[in-house]
Symmetry: C2
């Protein structure tokens, strides 16, 4: 498989403190699977400059794409743009195109531009804007790093605008099979099957239901015929 790889970097004290349960990571994981981009890693870091810089550098070097969530609003704890610009080694300043988008939005709303709102027009040099159809303040792509808002409704709208611009690969096809036996009985035959089908990914996800042990076996791969072949073999070993 040579699909493009990706990492997600969620930025925000509120997730790490347990105050907020993140939803952007799961949303983007599903979207990336749909377009054939393999999510290799996810990280959540606090609103601290050095930690964000370090994570952006590491993930940008390791993956084809990095998607960030959070920290691009007007308040003092919104420091993502500064950190990403430093990580990517490019200057950051108010940019005319971003300012025009914001000014038009505030004019429509009858709200005045001020220093805090102006912060949201600060975009790294050479970055492409990501449209924000909800509250105007844009995200941006600089190098292979795509910087988006943390508010889920805005994040999701930005992803919808961004993903068609990114070249995906072959989406993995997936089949799952529910087996009402303990994983300890399933493990041996499943390991044998995994060795016979090295081109497929096989995962076992145990559950307990009403005192009974069972597992959902998920088989994934780019070739649907192979997935079906392996699944047929598994069903023959563990008939319903």
């Amino acid at each position: 498989m040579s699909n493009p790889t990706a990492a997600i970097l969620v930025i925000g004290d509120e997730i790490l403190s347990g105050r907020t349960r993140d939803s952007n990571l799961h949303f983007l994981a599903q979207e990336l699977a749909r377009v054939g981009i393999d999510l290799a890693e996810a990280r959540i870091v606090a609103d601290r400059h050095d930690g964000i810089v370090e994570a952006v550098r590491a993930l940008s070097a390791a993956c084809d794409h990095v998607f960030t969530s959070g920290g691009i609003g007007p308040t003092h704890d919104d420091i993502t743009a500064d950190a990403v610009a430093e990580a990517m080694g490019v200057p950051l300043g108010v940019r005319a195109d971003a300012l025009a988008v914001l000014q038009a939005h505030y004019d429509r709303m009858g709200v005045e531009m001020n220093e805090a709102r102006l912060r949201m027009a600060r975009i790294p040099e050479g970055a492409a804007l990501i449209e924000n159809p909800v509250s105007a303040a844009p995200g941006f792509s600089v190098g292979n790093v795509h910087v988006m808002a943390g508010v889920p409704r805005i994040f999701e709208a930005m992803v919808a605008g961004l993903l068609p611009r990114i070249t995906g690969g072959t989406p993995l096809l997936s089949q799952s099979y529910r087996i009402l036996r303990g994983e300890g009985e399933i493990a041996g035959p499943l390991a044998g099957l995994a060795q016979e089908f090295p081109d497929l990914l096989m995962g076992s996800y145990p559950f307990q239901s009403g005192g009974a042990y069972g597992a959902n076996i998920v088989i994934r791969g780019a070739d649907g015929a192979r997935v079906h072949e392996a699944m047929t073999r598994l069903a023959a070993i563990f008939p319903e």
Copy 2:
């Protein structure tokens, strides 16, 4: 603040593929906040040996505690114990105490021990077992790394047994205040307040509700009187 720091490492393809939405991270974030351990970072990695080893090493060096979730069952994709043992530089083998716990459980259930189930008795040398009151197979603590199951019900039970053994710090106290104005108006005064109270953490979490813009301002700190003082000032600047 000199509370102990922690990282969470969630291990599992099923989270990164978007198939499953993780809940252990949010659960543990809340539990750690309660006992005064500061969650500094979270990572989610795939079921790949090298990636797990690398993440365990990095997080174990950076934080006082690392909590892992997932990959300690009997199937071929359960490789966490091997990776953690390698990361911590200790041998891994079937241990008598873990085997006794498992054997007693299978005897009670009338199920036979087999090669797959025996895998769950493989514990790194010198590790302390973490009790699993749900399905017996234990987790373990080796050095500052605490290895637990991914199934939420088991993970939560293991955390409940483990946390009292770990020395926490001063839980941060938190107050929040809802302001029905755009963040662009709140940002200036809030930044001034944050500078006046450098011992406190102030976060702004915007929302939109029925077309109106607003933000929840969260102020956190170890000293409740200081949090109250800052919050009183904030409420005076933005009266309801």
